[in-house]
């Protein structure tokens, strides 16, 4: 069964540093997403991406965040200057369109 692959599985970074989280969506999917889950809380939408541009973003997704699909297979989330409150599990997901998503296994980001 096709999978969404995320790397790394765990990243530790110092406050103020830039971090890039990487995802390889399912190859025939057209829509890509990033979600965030702070420990013990619910999963929150960050951004959706279609046709090489952002289609929707939440209020969490401020100027510190950016997404990119640099080479037709990878989908990245960049946090420019990390804060302690950015520590969370970050999930990438992809979908064909309507219906359900396939989630990756997540990247645990720890900001120290």
């Amino acid at each position: 069964e096709p999978e969404v692959t995320q790397t790394p599985s765990h990243q530790v970074t110092q406050m103020g540093q830039e971090v890039i989280l990487r995802c390889v969506p399912i190859s025939n999917h057209l829509y890509f997403y990033w979600y965030r889950q702070i420990l013990g809380q619910k999963v929150e939408f960050l951004v959706s991406f279609y046709n090489n541009e952002i289609s929707e973003k939440s209020e969490i997704f401020d100027d510190q965040f950016s997404v990119e699909r640099p080479d037709g297979s990878n989908f990245t989330l960049k946090i420019r200057s990390t804060k302690l409150e950015d520590s969370a599990m970050y999930f990438c997901a992809s979908s064909e369109g309507a219906g359900g998503y396939t989630f990756g296994s997540g990247t645990r980001l720890t900001v120290v």
Partner: protein, 116 residues
Amino acid sequence: AQTVTQSQPEMSVQEAETVTLSCTYDTSENNYYLFWYKQPPSRQMILVIRQEAYKQQNATENRFSVNFQKAAKSFSLKISDSQLGDTAMYFCAFRSPETSGSRLTFGEGTQLTVNP
């Protein structure tokens, strides 16, 4: 904006018994999708079951079934013959099909523990 509410933060059940997790949602739309996701300790998000709002028949996947009450905006998950591997956090989620690629809105989750 849509909201999803799971009013049971924690539940427990004995192995082999049946348990029902509750979910309610609020929307003004007539057509939409509802999902239950399972998140085990590994924290991976695993799709358990989905329901299209235009379908009157309740979805079923092996030991998992839903009770979808559209008028009441209720979407409960029933797990039959509970197994130890069912221990996980369960999230109810809503998605509007009005625009393809729309976001999932999650509830707060219910931590289910299956006891031997």
